[in-house]
């Protein structure tokens, strides 16, 4: 029986550093949309959210994982404590951070909502999916719904009276969303009869809220094949006009590797009676476009989930490495009588820890950068600057989703390695982190789908101007800092990496136009990684330079010195490891190696 103790730890100092020392959140506070917000409120939210997760969802992370969701007679029972945690969450209001005041929120910056979300995901990633998807559903309706729909659904979703889901996947329509066959037939009253089966629906059925609002992609009769023929529907489990049960049947739930406390459901719409939905907005056939808003939100959410779990795994491994005694210090390796040292004294353990530290801080920087672009898009008037911010936001979404999720798994397995045998046991939290993290690279569009989105759509947006602006930002940083005494070497290498990234993107264009399009998907994941590691090296080096400035001012014994020193080492280690790989990968892609395409299926 697992006990309800909180094992979650968060590096609040790094969050504050990012918000106020690197990305200048304070510049958008105290005015316009965020007039009521100041640095003090932001800091208070961070520390109160941290306290809340440690008290409320952190302690039930492990017990919920062990028990999982239970399916009986079409009902899903969530683990002990989930209902209470939900109630407490919406009383505290953390989900309202970035939400408009008219829907019960506090209109705070999205960047802050993302950092709060890191903590909520890190402390209990499975629980956080219920409110996360609920918020996503509310956002789509807020953006695309009719006034009537907004009135009926938004506030109730934003304040946790109801919960929400997103229903895309069907047995034959996974990555290929356009293959979906769920039907929507228009009725005389303008509403639609929904019929079909969706699978893998997260939080599709549970006992936390009285009603669940499903956002369902379905096809109207005669609509085009593929994604163009899909429309998006609001399908409540219980009709909101009081007419009762709406025939959304949960046929079963899946038994999974991780996120056991998040129900993953097979939903049959219209089994045993009519299931009625309403079209989001008033136009059919734009469902995919609408769903993209939800997917964008959810992709950022998944990257942040990755960040939360990676950071939690790193903190656990760090704590353990300081306590576990094993073997003598290397300088005494021949002396069996020598005192045993904590494993953090061993070189390889330090290497693993620094690698984990750099990666987590790197993803965090990417998430916060994305958040700041989103906030600026939100507050700026239309114009060049806003176009720029929007372009960077779009570019970063696939990076945050795919690199964030891949690294979450990497960091979590490294955490197990740091623990040794103990890490493989359920007595410690890291094996759960690892199991929970694996799904992040799969749902919300597999990471390959993200990579295709990056090279197929984002790179070419606005004639490549977004990507050029990204490279230009790095170029400006390199020009300014390449003579830095201690970091200049890495800054110069960053410049080379950015150049090779640009050259590789041009290569893609050449392949598209020169009849070698098959090379594009073959190279897409590698490119996404190159771009992510280049971006993160840049952001970590920028942090290191800020840190050097602060170190020059701080007194010799100031306790904050260790933090800034740590920043320098994160950057040096990460950039040192990764930038060379960017150059290597560019070279590899240049060779147009096609072995995976040339090998016949029989030869595998």
């Amino acid at each position: 029986m697992s006990q309800n103790i909180n094992r979650y730890r968060c590096d609040l100092r790094d969050l504050q550093f990012l918000l106020f020392e690197q990305f200048g959140l304070q510049e958008i506070l105290g005015k316009g949309k965020h007039a009521d917000w100041g640095q003090e409120e932001v800091n208070m939210v961070l520390s109160e959210v941290y306290k809340w997760v440690c008290d409320v969802t952190g302690p039930i992370n492990e017990s919920a994982d062990r028990v999982g969701c239970k399916f009986e007679n079409g009902e899903v029972k969530t683990p002990a404590g989930f209902k209470e945690a939900w109630k407490s969450l919406y009383e505290a209001g953390w989900r309202g951070l970035g939400v408009d005041e008219k829907y019960g929120g506090q209109g705070g910056p999205s960047t802050l909502a993302l950092t709060a979300n890191e903590m909520m995901s890190g402390a209990n990633t499975a629980f956080n999916m219920y409110p996360g998807l609920t918020q996503g559903a509310a956002e789509v309706i807020e953006h695309f719904g009719t006034d009537e729909q907004k009135k009926t659904f938004c506030k109730n979703l934003y304040t946790g009276v109801w919960s929400g889901t997103m229903c895309l996947t069907e047995p034959h329509a996974g990555s290929d969303v356009g293959a979906a066959t769920t039907k929507a037939v228009k009725l005389d009253d303008g509403r639609y009869k929904i019929e079909g089966t969706k699978i893998f629906i997260s939080c599709g059925q549970h006992d936390i809220t009285d009603n669940i609002i499903h956002m369902v992609l379905a096809r109207t009769p005669g609509a085009a094949a593929g994604t163009k023929g899909l429309s998006l529907f609001i399908v409540p489990r219980e009709s909101v006009d009081g007419s009762g049960y709406n025939n959304v049947v949960c046929a079963s739930i899946e038994h999974k590797m991780g996120i056991n406390a998040s129900s993953t459901c097979v939903l049959n719409f219209g089994e045993g009676g009519d299931c009625i939905g309403e079209l989001v907005g008033t136009v059919e056939g734009v469902g995919m476009k609408q769903m993209f808003l939800l997917m964008n939100f959810a992709r950022i959410g998944v990257g942040t989930q990755g960040l939360g779990v990676a950071a939690a795994a790193y903190q656990s491994a760090l704590e353990y490495a300081k306590e576990r005694l094993q073997g003598p210090h290397m300088k005494n390796f021949k002396n069996p009588e020598a005192p045993k040292v904590p494993i953090i004294e061993h070189a390889d353990v330090r290497r693993m820890l620094l690698e984990m530290k750099g990666r987590t801080e790197g993803i965090r920087a990417l998430v916060v950068k994305l958040g700041m672009h989103a906030d600026k898009v939100d507050i700026l008037e239309d114009g060049d600057q806003k176009t720029y911010e929007k372009g960077q936001l779009d570019l970063l979404v696939p990076l945050v989703k795919a690199y964030g999720s891949d690294q979450a798994y990497e960091v979590a397995t490294t955490a197990i390695q740091v623990y040794g045998g103990a890490g493989y046991l359920q007595d410690h939290p890291v094996e759960q982190h690892c199991r929970d993290a694996k799904i992040f690279s799969i749902y919300e569009g597999t990471n390959h789908i993200q990579a295709l989105d990056l090279v197929g759509r984002q790179l070419g947006q606005r004639g490549g101007a977004n990507f050029q602006a990204f490279l230009k930002d790095i170029g400006a940083f390199v020009a300014k800092n390449s003579e830095n005494e201690t970091l200049g070497k890495h800054v110069k290498e960053l410049g080379q990496a950015a150049q090779s990234l640009g050259a590789t993107a041009m290569r893609f264009l050449g392949w598209f136009q020169g009849g070698k399009a098959q090379l594009v998907p073959l190279s897409a994941n590698i490119f996404l990684k190159m771009m992510s590691t280049t971006a993160i090296s840049w952001l970590l080096l920028e942090q290191a330079i800020i840190a050097e400035g602060k170190l020059a001012e701080l007194a010799e014994h100031d306790s904050d010195r260790a933090f800034y020193e740590g920043k320098r080492y994160s950057a040096i280690h990460y950039a040192g490891l990764e930038l060379g790989q960017v150059l290597n990968n560019a070279k590899y892609l240049g060779e147009e190696n096609q072995a995976p395409m040339e090998i016949s299926t029989a030869s595998f």
Binding site: D36, G38, E40, E41, N43, M44, V45, S47, E48, K51, W52, D55, E84, S88, E91, A92, G93, W94, G96, L97, Q106, H557, D558, S559, D560
Partner: protein, 272 residues
């Protein structure tokens, strides 16, 4: 009903204490509201509200004596729902229990609350003195280690239960009075104020500062005072000489039998 709640900031008790040169090294400390004081704030809020309707009925004034940064902890009490704050500037090193009690007396004289509600002790020094000293200085009735508080219908008295070795002791105090609280004061039905229906069940524990509460806290008044403003002077009578960690416990031994245990206890440990 007006309640004065003195609160103290303490280094986060969940983090390890660092000792340097015979002193606590607090340079990297994370500061939080003393746990028992947070309970006192919760109890005060429950005494002055209708929880079913979410409305306030009374005033909770939080006061701290401490350095500039301690304003952060006052703000978190305001974010929990307290109505107003008083910050008396002082460095921790210049204080001891008696000076704190004297300062609180001066605040009491200005504020004239119906009740002073405080934690039974601060979890840093664990001295457990301020409440008692304050009651003595004010010559007011006191009840310490309160596990529940019930307000009389006329609002002129309260019944406090205290868990003692022999059971539960009930004390009826005329108001104004000084009450210090123990951890059970935040259990779901520990407070009865005659306004919140008896059927209301609170969550166990102090409430969280809500997002709304945080946004409102900035607009709530915070008075800044010095001890001189309050006419309090003097230096601490208690001096801290040195801080050391308790000695590490020696490793235990596993014995095979009761006989061996008894033998070891009598011969090696000389405990028998």
């Amino acid at each position: 009903m007006k309640i004065l709640v003195p609160v103290k900031r303490v280094p986060d008790p969940e983090l390890k204490a660092n000792i340097k040169d015979g002193k606590l090294d607090l340079s990297g400390a994370q500061w939080v509201v003393n746990t028992f004081d947070e309970y006192a704030v919760e109890a005060a809020l429950r005494l002055t509200e209708n929880a079913d309707e979410g409305s306030r009925d009374g005033e909770v004034v939080v006061v701290t004596i401490g350095p500039d940064d301690a304003a952060v902890q006052l703000r978190s009490c305001l974010a929990m729902g307290a109505d107003r704050a008083i910050h008396v500037a002082s460095e921790d090193a210049n204080l001891d229990s008696l000076l704190v009690a004297k300062t609180l007396k001066a605040v009491y004289d200005e504020e004239k609350p119906d009740m002073v509600l405080l934690g039974k002790q601060a979890v840093d020094g664990d001295t457990n003195q301020v409440g008692q000293m304050l009651a003595a200085l004010l010559n007011l009735p006191q009840a310490t280690f309160a596990a529940s508080i019930e307000l009389a219908d006329d609002g002129k008295a309260c019944v406090v239960s205290r868990e003692v070795d022999a059971g539960v002791e009930f004390k009826k105090l005329p108001l104004p009075a000084v009450v210090t609280v123990d951890l059970r004061i935040v259990s779901p039905t520990s407070i009865t104020n005659g306004i919140t229906p008896e059927s209301h069940e609170y969550a166990d524990g102090p409430r969280y500062a809500s997002l709304k509460g945080i946004m409102k806290a900035k607009k709530k008044p915070m008075d800044n005072k010095t001890m001189a403003d309050l006419g309090v002077s003097g230096s601490p009578v208690v001096k801290e000489l040195e801080v050391t960690l308790p000695e590490a416990r020696a490793a235990g031994q596993i014995v095979e039998s009761v006989e061996e245990l008894v033998k070891k206890l009598s011969e090696e440990a000389k405990a028998l």
